[in-house]
Subunit: 173 residues, 2 copies
Amino acid sequence: MHSEVVASRSADQRDSSRESRNGNSPQLDAVSLAIIQQLQEDGRRPYAAIGKAVGLSEAAVRQRVQKLLDQGVMQIVAVTDPLTVGFRRQAMVGINVEGDVESIADALTAMSEVEYVVMTAGSFDILAEIVCEDDDHLLDVINKRIRALPGVRSTESFVYLKLKKQTYMWGTR
Amino acid sequence: MHSEVVASRSADQRDSSRESRNGNSPQLDAVSLAIIQQLQEDGRRPYAAIGKAVGLSEAAVRQRVQKLLDQGVMQIVAVTDPLTVGFRRQAMVGINVEGDVESIADALTAMSEVEYVVMTAGSFDILAEIVCEDDDHLLDVINKRIRALPGVRSTESFVYLKLKKQTYMWGTR
DNA sequence: TCGCGACCTTGCGGATTTCGCAGATCGAGT
DNA sequence: ACTCGATCTGCGAAATCCGCAAGGTCGCGA
């Protein structure tokens, strides 16, 4: 009963390479996708349970998960609502840059209060999400540290009033 | 006797209801914070190891983690870079609303392509991050679905060019 | 066609972890 | 003083993790 399953599944694996024809760094096949999906529902789900769900042995799942972690494709972490953990002020900051955008982005990345940095097309060059403990802290980061970076032409801040949705279901649709 | 019970318990409840305006009920003590911190470094770290790190028994850690999960204070999940998982187009959309902002935010929240919704102060009323498979998909979501919502006055899109930083270290500083 | 590499499977123990439950402990209210 | 609820500890039993070995299959290139 096992041999049939093996044969049919190996066919599946190969044709998944067609999915990721756009060569990003590591092409994920359908099975790895499914594993990630499982771990997005519960990051502590046992390998055996995942294996049952995706049609792989426990050992294979273990190997794949390890590789995905090593490659940095995914990470398994606890996520929280910042407000419950004592960070009362958050903001998204749109930034316009003259000169090298990437170096500014790197400088932002180095700041511990900056949670999220993305280079964008549109009326901002960079969007950065910052997480602070209070208004003073927030003001300090925006005015003293971000605007002080050489090459930052202007910034616009959007202080968070209420977080409505925050999901981590990438790849789960 | 009935009314007294309510009165005596109300200290607790009032405390939490005041906080829960933003959806966060419990105030976390230092130990729970430390536990979260451990799990932000590695979501699969064993309870015994966490206990050793925070000075608690394995069973106590287990109970606290379970409670934190039940209360929705944190979740343990796999997170990925969307680009490596096949979502090639992402954008932040700033939205201006006339009328009830919250109902618009709820409508956005209901869309599966919308990953992140936050109500803000500033020149946008809402910021929404959307994750799509390609340009057509993105265009469709922004123009056909979001702009079609009654009450949406205008939108401005910031297509992601490069994700530079994405951390989940809230509370870890 | 043959061998190589990548990947999977099955099986196996031993170390580790999880899990449930029964007893301490402690603060608060009665 | 006593109960109640919440929390922590200790401790077996069950489950899981983890490394390892011995195959099997498939695609690919010499």
